[in-house]
């Protein structure tokens, strides 16, 4: 249908036709009667009806149970407060990685007659320095002993870490373990008939026979500890999460920082997530902006106070400014927007920040400061992404200050920019306003 290209919004009744719900009954009947004959309004209604039909013809596929469960797990993980210090900060040990590939027999309880006969059945394991794989620990955590506290992640004896270059099957006496290629593991010596398999990265599929009361088998990852009695289960350890899936029996899982285990039964699985990264925290603050500006301000403010990385910090200041604006703290918000524009990494956000700053200042009656902010934006980005909006705001401010000629010129500039961006509707509005000002 090309009604609007032939008659570009040409009927003066079209506005009323497009707002039938807002009309009184009599007016609505009149509008519908008009639309029946009008070559613009009638086809416009037909086109909207057709659009509605197109949109309603498809519907999102309903959720299935597994998806609901996945969403809930995600919600639960995001709700969880950040845990304690990062586990790697506790180590402080560095090991020179050995390039040579060696075949290792993993043993515990050497010399003890009751020791479990634990042997890697096949595969070659490479000694590995896990410390080299993680980022430098935060300075505050490196300080040492203070970070070691009840429930905090436990250090692993890095001297024993080995990597499986391919799938490796191991008989650990109490359990048979299959490690996926690339898994990094170690065995922690414990009592004679106890096994603690440390899984840094990768997937361990474990099959454990029924254990005697004196026996214990555990899998520990940087994020959780899994204890079993007799079962088949799988533990997958990644940087940001540990995933536990139980096929038979029951396991107990202790998250770091918690002394209360979660019981996972056959057929169930559990995700243990790492503490949120600054980016995730920022994303949470942003999501809260509309529903809970105070909460968003608190979260974004804490990121700023903690001295996040510059690229996160600048976004956090922007979110904080948005939150303050929603809370009605206009002056504070305007200052924060200006801070964003002046931030070392604020280039990409300067235009939006200065525009919002100018809006707030204008609303507060400080037209000259608002115009200065807009001029600053113009100098920094030229036309930018919201050039029409900036020019239009400038026009409104000038109009408020009684400078009609300059306001008309600003409206003309807004119209030109809107047209260049393909927004003809806005261009027409700006252009008409400019023309009206010039006529007067």
């Amino acid at each position: 249908m090309s009604l609007l290209s032939n008659h570009p919004l040409a009927c003066r009744h079209l506005d009323r036709t497009l707002s039938l719900e807002a009309c009184a009954a009599e007016e609505r009947a009149e509008a519908l009667a008009h639309a029946g004959d009008c070559p613009v309004c009638g086809p416009a209604l037909d086109e909207l009806t057709s659009v509605g039909r197109t949109l309603r013809a498809v519907d999102p596929e309903p959720l299935v149970t597994a998806e609901r469960a996945r969403i809930w797990r995600g919600v639960a993980a995001r709700r969880r407060a950040p845990a304690g210090p990062m586990w790697w900060a506790l180590g402080g040990l560095a090991v020179a990685a050995t390039a040579a590939v060696v075949v290792l027999a993993l043993r515990t309880g050497d010399g003890d007659s009751d020791a479990l006969p634990m042997t890697v059945v096949m595969g070659e394991l490479t000694p590995v320095d896990v410390m080299a794989e993680v980022e430098a620990p935060p300075a505050s955590a490196v300080a040492g002993g203070a970070a070691v506290e009840a429930g905090a992640p436990r250090p692993m004896p890095v001297s024993r870490w080995v990597r499986a270059p391919r799938t490796v099957a191991a008989d650990l006496g109490l359990a048979r373990v299959s490690l996926s290629a690339g898994s990094v593991v170690s065995l922690e010596p414990r009592a004679a008939r106890e096994v603690d398999l440390r899984l840094y990265r990768g997937t361990a599929s474990v099959s454990v026979e029924k254990l005697a009361p004196s026996e214990a088998f555990e899998v520990t990852t940087p994020l959780a500890r899994v204890k079993v009695v007799g079962t088949r289960f799988q533990v997958e350890s990644q940087a940001e999460a540990t995933h536990i899936r139980v096929e038979e029996g029951t396991v107990w899982v202790w998250e770091n920082g918690s002394d209360k285990p979660t019981v996972v039964h056959a057929g169930q699985s559990l995700d243990v997530r790492a503490p949120a990264t600054p980016r995730e925290v920022l994303s949470e603050a942003r999501a809260l902006l509309d529903s809970d500006a105070t909460g968003a301000a608190r979260i974004a403010g804490s990121l700023v106070d903690q001295g996040a990385a510059p690229e996160v910090e600048v976004e956090a200041i922007l979110v904080l400014a948005d939150a303050e604006r929603r809370r009605g703290e206009a002056a504070k918000a305007a200052d924060l927007y200006r801070r964003v524009a002046e931030h070392a990494r604020g280039g990409a956000y300067a235009e939006e920040a200065l525009y919002k700053c100018a809006s707030l200042l204008g609303a507060a009656g400080d037209a000259s400061a608002a115009l200065a902010a807009l001029a600053d934006a113009e100098t920094r980005v030229g036309v930018g992404a919201i050039g029409p909006e900036r020019a239009s705001l400038e026009a409104e401010l000038l109009l408020g200050a009684g400078q009609r000629a300059r306001a008309a010129a600003a409206f003309a500039r807004a119209a030109e920019r809107a047209r260049a961006m393909g927004d003809d509707a806005s261009a027409r509005v700006f252009s008409e306003r400019g023309a009206r000002l010039r006529e007067r």
Binding site: S5, P8, L48, T49, R56, V58, D59, L288, L289
Partner: protein, 216 residues
């Protein structure tokens, strides 16, 4: 000529066992893909768990509709999670002054609008419409190629409308919410709802005309 406008009557029928405390939205009734009438018993105890149990399907549908067919299923799930995080944060302040379902609509819409505010996500959604016909996994794969093409054309135009107007349009046209319900959900005056709806329709028509004329 048929009018796309709806004059709303009383709330639709809800199952008898729910009538006492049900929150109902009138069904459209004319289309085979008409939205499901939302009829929910208000959870006795308002916890995030009970709200999730009762409303996760509705929130998923609302989010998927607001994001459009070019949003992947994983994207939708991600935003649904954010909605429930927002609900959990805001739940202590819910005083029952509006219906719970309306309030949830509002939270969902605001979270989606926040997510759509970024230029990058907007552009990604727009760009994905190009290959939506082959790869979208949010919607049923049963439509014909021409139906999908038409859907992509309409959504390309809808994505040109600012999120706050688009959200009102979709809540009205697809979710069948009345002006009062939208106003309550978004915490804006009813007059603003009609203004946004009017502008959304006008801009949509203009965008469709431009598309028809080959203007990008």
């Amino acid at each position: 000529m048929t009018s796309p406008m709806k004059v709303r009557g009383d709330a639709g029928d809800s199952p008898p066992e729910m009538q006492a405390r049900a929150v109902a939205v009138p069904p459209r009734g004319s289309s085979p893909a008409a939205p499901r009438a939302v009829a929910r018993v208000v959870p006795e105890e308002l916890t995030i768990e009970s709200v999730f149990r009762h409303y996760v399907d509705d929130v998923h549908r609302i989010v998927a509709r607001l994001l459009g067919p070019s949003a992947g299923r994983a994207d939708v799930e991600d935003v649904v999670q954010l909605v429930f995080i927002a609900i959990q944060r805001a739940l202590p302040r819910f005083r029952g002054e509006s219906k719970l379902s309306t309030w949830i609509y509002g939270v969902s819409a605001r979270v989606v609008m926040t997510q759509l505010r970024g230029w990058r996500r907007h552009r990604r959604l727009l760009a994905a419409l190009g290959d939506h016909l082959q790869s979208a996994d949010t919607y049923t794969p049963e439509q014909s190629a021409s139906e999908r093409q038409e859907l992509a054309r309409v959504w390309r135009c809808l994505l040109r409308i600012k999120p706050k107007k688009r959200v009102v349009y979709i809540m009205h046209e697809l979710e069948d919410l009345s002006g009062n319900e939208i106003a309550e959900a978004l915490e804006i005056p009813v007059a603003t709802v009609w203004t946004r709806l009017h502008h959304a329709r006008k801009e949509l028509l203009a965008a469709l005309a431009r598309e028809q004329g080959g203007t990008p």
